[in-house]
């Protein structure tokens, strides 16, 4: 157990000296320490917000599925974050930020002697990163919902949070990864978190197959409406709120505030634009403004701005968000068309828009904002765009292949999917022995 060298002792339980010690405190700090304290505080607050996104994911996913599987998805939500927290502590952090090769880190297990690439307290940096890891893990729950065994989900969670996510993270964010060496830029994780989650989900649903009744005998898609749009709406608001930690927090420092303010503004504008463009797209195509698509549009805008949030200006953020909203609508339709069943739209939102956001860096990014090369639309040619394309391709491919292996392994040992009867009756009763809405009359005919 290492000791932290703290500059001050906890004062609350030391009677008498209380007033003196705490007042003396300030004087003892240098400007440097204050800056470090401020930056640490900011990263912590951002981590809290990113943690809170877990509630957002839970509510969105629960709201978009049927009542009979709600306990199951909430359980997955709690436990994937729990497992991710612990696994990332034990080994994920070491694989991601430890010194090692360009492929994987190999130092800092259990945070002991763990390198700290940030300017803030190691623990704050860890907590922030652990919350990211939990987010990547939980994205998959929604796509595989309503039919996946809880036990197998637990196993999946261990793999993604302990190994797969940290490896991708190492490539891009460790400072020693092969992708970052090339100048690949993913400011807050369109690729590292969202495309990783989205493509892991894609691998998963391909193994799992669609829910009973999602596609008619002729293969035509059928709607399986979510059981509580208010819950889903709340979830989207919570996610949007949490994203203000996710993106600006990734700056890892407050500095004079300019950068984090720009990032926050970009984040908000892209989300707003995504919601609006998804609404318009679906309105034009189907004659009615669809709430569930509008909400997916907002999330799509948020995912898309995640990589470029620090490298573009607000007007560009709006454009990125507008395109994201269109992508998500057509993405949902495309999955229906190819008969892939993703109950909550995790793949279009996080997968497709994770890719879009990463590429957008190469299109709209500014060197003046810290990018290696000027983006295509600012005369920088295809260099940055090429790097971005390569990076996102490499990451999604790696995730898809490795997660396919994981799912194949689970599939052939414990099985991924519950029985037909369990699926029809709902996972809550068979997997958890309880109902989400005891006492309510809920139609379980579909």
């Amino acid at each position: 157990m290492r000791f932290l060298r703290l500059r001050w002792l906890p004062v609350l339980f030391v009677p008498g000296i209380l007033l003196i010690s705490s007042h003396a405190l300030a004087a003892d700090l240098t400007l440097d320490e204050v800056v470090r304290g401020l930056d640490t505080l900011w990263v912590l607050i951002a981590a809290f917000l990113v943690f809170f996104m877990q509630a957002g994911f839970g509510m969105v996913e629960a709201g978009f599925i049927r009542a009979k599987n709600t306990v199951n998805i909430l359980m997955k939500n709690f436990i994937d974050y729990g497992v991710a927290s612990i696994m990332f502590f034990i080994m994920g952090y070491a694989f991601m930020f430890g010194n090692g090769s360009g492929f994987i880190g190999t130092e800092g297990f259990g945070l002991s002697n763990a390198p700290n690439p940030s300017g803030v307290s190691l623990y704050a940096f860890f907590l922030f990163q652990a919350a990211f890891c939990g987010a990547a893990a939980t994205i998959v729950a929604g796509a595989m919902s309503e039919r996946m065994k809880f036990r197998s989900y637990l196993m999946y969670t261990v793999f993604i949070s302990a190994v797969v996510y940290p490896i991708v993270g190492h490539w891009v964010w460790s400072g020693a990864g092969w992708l970052s060496s090339m100048g690949f830029a993913d400011f807050a994780g369109s690729t590292v978190v969202h495309a990783t989650g989205g493509f892991a989900a894609l691998a998963g649903v391909l193994f799992l197959g669609p829910r009973i009744g999602k596609f008619g005998p002729d293969g035509s898609p059928r709607a399986v409406p979510g059981h509580s749009l208010p819950l889903a709406a709340l979830g989207v608001f919570i996610l949007w709120f949490g994203w203000f930690g996710f993106n600006p927090g990734s700056a890892l420092a407050v500095s004079n505030g300019e950068k984090i303010a720009l990032i926050a503004t970009n984040t908000n504008l892209a989300a707003a634009a995504g919601a609006i463009s998804a609404m318009i797209t679906v309105w034009i195509k189907y004659g009615k403004p669809d709430l569930s698509m509008t909400m997916n549009g907002a999330l799509a805008g948020l995912v898309a701005i995640t990589a470029p949030c620090a490298f573009v200006m607000p007007g560009e953020a709006i454009v990125i968000g507008l395109i994201a909203g269109i992508i998500v609508v057509y993405g949902v339709l495309f999955l229906d068309y190819v008969r892939i069943d993703d109950p909550v739209g995790a793949i279009p939102v996080h997968g497709f828009n994770g890719v879009w956001g990463t590429l957008a860096v190469g299109l709209f990014g500014h060197r003046s904002l810290g990018l290696a090369h000027e983006g295509l639309f600012h005369g920088g040619g295809l260099t940055q765009l090429g790097i971005q394309a390569l990076g996102v391709a490499a990451c999604t491919l790696f995730v898809f292949v490795s997660m396919s292996a994981v799912f194949y392994f689970i599939h052939s040992t414990f099985g991924l999917r519950v029985s037909r009867d369990e699926e029809l009756r709902g996972l809550d009763i068979d997997e958890h022995g309880m109902e989400a809405y005891s006492g309510f009359q809920v139609f379980t005919t579909q």
């Binding site: 898609p221 059928r222 709607a223 399986v224 409406p225 979510g226 679906v282 195509k285 189907y286 004659g287 009615k288 669809d290 569930s292 698509m293 997916n296 609508v329 949902v332 339709l333 229906d336 739209g345 009359q441």
Partner: protein, 113 residues
Amino acid sequence: MKLVIAYIRPERLNVVKQELYKRHIFNISVTNALGSGRQRGFVESYRGVEIEVNLLKKVRLEIAVNDEFLAPTIEGIKAGAKTGQIGDGVIFVVNLEECIRIRTDETGSVAIG
């Protein structure tokens, strides 16, 4: 004694109740139901997929009445429920063999209301 069962539009329930009150029929039981009849459903679309909803929300009334009240009951329901548009619903009449009021142990006609 008859048991009158009726399916009506949910939004007409209050009017039907008033029409029945006017005719001194105070005892009724109501359940939520879904119905498919001549009325075509409406098309919802959810996330780009259309759903034809052909089970529409209806309200089911069950009213036990003495024979002399059968006509006014039917009249009352019709008066309250009719809009003239498809989906107004139906009334079924079934013979009621016995009626028992739990609190009073009354049976037959006197127990009905």
